[in-house]
Every structure is written in C-alpha cells, then in structure tokens.
C-alpha cells in the first residue's frame, strides 16, 4: 500500500523545533547572600538533542564585581556578551569608573528593547555588588523587562525546575560558603531534570574581597 507522508515541519534532519529558545539549551541562576552574590550556569552546548560541547559556560564578567549570565540561543549569547563588553568598556572610558550592577541592568534592558520586533533570543541574569558592596541581582526577559528580585533569579530551559529548587533551598543571609552549596545544589538537581542542560556547571561567588569561580562535575548526560 502506498503511504503518503503529509507535509510537515520536519526538515531533512527529521526533527522540528518548537521554540528557538530551546535550540541550544542552558540554565542560569543567581542568588543573594549575606554581603555576597552567586551566579551559576551549566556548560552544555547542544543542537536540539545532540550535545556538541561541554565547555560552553554562559556567565561573563562585566566588571570585577558584576557578572552577566546569558542563556538562550548560543549565537546570541556570544554576540551579546561581546556587545556588552563593548558597551561596558566605553562606559568605563567615559565615566572613569566601573558600571554599577543596577545601571548595567538598564543597559541590558535598553539593548534588548532596541530589538523589540526582532529580538535577541536570550534571557539575561545579572548579579553583582554595588560600590557599597550591597548585593544586587535581577533578570530580564528577551525584550528587556527587568525583574528585580531580593532572593534569586532563574533563566534558561531549566527555569521551571530552578524555581522549584531555589524556592525550597534558598534562605536569606547565607554566608558565601553556604550560598555556594545552596546555589550548586539548586543548579545541579534542576538540570538533571532537563535534557537540554547540564554536562558540568560553573559557579561564581562574588564577595567584597574576592571573586571565586568553581567548576563542578555533574552527571554527564
């Protein structure tokens, strides 16, 4: 009997994508502690189901005390991290000081909204200490709406799982070592429930004296 194949969205690869934000996969989370902040991300880079790299961290240093996490479409992750480096460098040259986290958040928001009708497919997370070493975190959507949070922010394909983990594990005023444990557990267990994220994790703890980035070995699947 002759089978007719209906017209479908399937390409020659035999796969379809439901959402461009889920093409590469990724997870980012940031948390506030006592006089410190933490930001963490997974290290997977995939093309839908296939993992092509396990060295693709999604957090970038903007200033010595502020980091941006950029999960989403990988090409936009790279382009935007380079764009923000450009803008932050120019800011420092003109203002003769480092950009504050809150100001950077607005810079990110404006940059994203500039592409309101053809957006960058990333949902950034910002974490840092301001000039008085007060913790600051926030996240934005892909067109720049800022969410100022006092506790934690999550983003990426694992965001739902991260919400669950953070809501249960987070508590206020965690010391840097405890914050490290909390954010690491939140991220590791969340990505284990997301096939598009994982393959290692990178956790950065920012305190007034120093910034430490640690790489964690997680389930390699």
């Amino acid at each position: 009997m002759e089978y007719r194949v209906p017209n479908s969205l399937a390409s020659l690869s035999g796969t379809v994508h439901k959402s461009i934000m889920e093409y590469n996969g990724g997870a980012v989370v940031a948390m506030v502690g006592k006089n410190c902040v933490a930001i963490a991300c997974d290290k997977r880079l995939g093309v839908q189901a296939m993992t092509i790299s396990t060295e693709f961290p999604k957090t970038f240093q903007a200033t010595p005390k502020t980091y941006i996490g950029l999960p989403g479409l990988a090409t936009d992750v790279q382009t935007l991290s380079e764009k923000f480096r450009f803008k932050v460098n120019m800011y420092k040259l003109k203002e003769e000081r480092e950009i504050e986290p809150r100001t950077l958040a607005h810079l990110v928001s404006s940059t994203l909204y500039e592409r309101r009708f053809g957006p960058w497919f990333v949902e950034p997370v910002i974490a840092g200490l301001d000039k008085e070493n007060r913790p600051f975190i926030c996240s934005t959507d892909l067109i720049g709406c800022i969410n100022f949070a006092k506790d934690f922010v999550v983003s990426g394909t694992t965001s739902n799982q991260l919400y669950g983990m953070c809501e249960s594990l987070w508590e206020p005023d965690l010391e840097p070592e405890d914050l490290f444990e909390t954010i690491s557990q939140s991220l590791m267990n969340a990505v284990d429930r997301d096939c598009l994220s994982g393959w290692g994790a990178q956790v950065t703890i920012i305190t007034p004296d120093q910034v430490i980035t640690r790489t964690l070995k997680s389930r390699q699947d």
């Binding site: 380079e82 764009k83 480096r85 450009f86 460098n89 120019m90 040259l93 003109k94 003769e96």
Partner: protein, 250 residues
C-alpha cells in the same frame, strides 16, 4: 603668501599647500607641550597642563593624556574640544575592532583609522580640519611598544621620541641629543621626559599640579598602564632634583 586660498580647506594653494591645515598646526604650536619617549621595556607620555585659574574645579581626570583602550594611551596638544571628539571616535573604533575580531586593535591600525578621519577633513566636506595633534603610545603583540605622532593633515609617523605643542623645537633638540641609540630603560625614559618638560615649561616653578604623566609597561606579560598622581610626579621631580626648582622666566 596668497590669502585668496585660505577660505576653503579643500583646495590647494598655487604653491601646493593646504593653508587651513597649516593654520591648524599654527594653533597647536601655541598649546602646551606634550611629549612621548619609547623605552626598551615600555614608554612614557608626559605633558604640561595649562592651569588657567585657581578657581577651576577639575571634575574629569586630565586634559592632556587620555586612555584609548587597555593597550593604548595618547597625549594631546591643541583644542581640547576637538580632541574630545577624536578621542571618542578612536575609543569607539578600538571597541568596534574588539567586537569584530575579539582581539585588541593593533596600534598602527588605530592610528591609521584616526588619521583617515582627519584626512577626510582636508579633502571633502568643506569643514575645517581638527586643531589637534596626538602622541599615541601603545603595545601590541606583533610589534611590542610603539610611539606615533599624528597632526591635522592626517599624516602620521612612528617615533622613538617626539613632542607636540609649544617649544617643540627646543624639546625635540634635547630629545635628539639625549636619546641613546641602543635604547633607554623605562626609568631613564621617565627621567628624560621630566627633564625635557622642565626645560621647556614657561613657568618659574615646576610642580606636579602642572604636569600630567603616564607610563605603559609589561608586567608578567600583561600591559600595565600607570597614570601618575600628584604624589608620584612629585617623587619623580624629587629624584631628578627638579622639585621647586626656580627657573629664569623665558
């Protein structure tokens, strides 16, 4: 000198000169001096500040020496307003290069970019040229430490030691005499820079409030830029026995 050809920047005079460009250079020769010296392990840019009044409240750091990017600084002589436009242009150009290639812009390319802009103002548009000269000091991995000088015409050249602004004839003379063929160390370059400045400055007493001083050197393979504060300039003056030296008025 034919005055009929002054009004338009974009035409030659019968003698083959561009008067507007020359007038720009004349303006610069009245500005305070800036000089640059290349050393084997770094470079120095030093400049005299024009202190107009005690009442001036300085909010921005410095009017003579500017940072272009992590690997380059420059000294300015001429109209500060013109300089600001060009500095902003070259800072943006350097970031644009970094954005495109993910590498720091090589020094000579950066100088060329700015010179191409300046040249445009001598050939199209009918706008006057910029009344600024620059001394650029930078480092890149292919050519090490480099010193360049550019002027309103858009011409540039690489130098081992050079100066711009007022009294350049005498300053250049001293530099030519004192610069050693085999090269200087950064310390020798710093001493020479402060010595030349002291000889060319019009003021009767040398003070750190009238000087801007910056160095570029490699530390552990990374470029380190030092913009001297007043105490450090004082220390350098003291080392060279130039602190509170009373000079005869020129």
């Amino acid at each position: 000198m034919s005055r009929r050809y002054d009004a338009r920047t974009t035409i030659f005079s019968p003698e083959g000169r561009l008067y507007q460009v020359e007038y720009a250079m004349e303006a610069i020769s009245h500005a305070s001096t800036a000089l640059g010296i290349l050393a084997k392990d770094g470079l120095v840019i030093a400049a005299e500040k024009k202190v107009a009044s005690k009442l001036l409240d300085e909010t921005k750091g410095g009017e003579k020496i500017y940072i272009i990017n992590d690997n380059m600084i420059c000294g300015v002589a001429g109209f500060t307003s013109d300089a600001n436009i060009l500095i902003n242009y070259v800072q943006t150009a350097a970031q644009q290069y970094l954005y495109t290639y993910n590498e720091d812009m090589p020094c000579e390319q950066l100088v060329q970019k700015l010179c191409d802009l300046k040249q445009g103002y001598t050939q199209y548009g009918g706008l006057r040229p910029f009344g600024v000269s620059f001394i650029y000091g930078g480092w890149d991995e292919h050519h090490g430490f480099q010193l360049y000088h550019s002027d309103p015409s858009g011409n540039y050249a690489g130098w081992k030691a050079t100066c711009i602004g007022a009294n350049t004839a005498s300053a250049q003379g001293i530099l030519r005499q004192e610069y050693k063929e085999e090269g200087l160390t950064l310390q020798e370059a710093k001493n020479l820079a402060i010595k030349v400045l002291s000889k060319t400055m019009d003021t009767t007493s040398l003070g750190s409030d009238k000087i801007e001083f910056a160095t570029l050197e490699l530390v552990n393979g990374k470029v380190v830029r030092r913009i001297f504060g007043q105490p450090e300039i004082d220390a350098l003056l003291k080392e060279n026995n130039l602190l509170n030296k009373t000079e005869e008025a020129k």
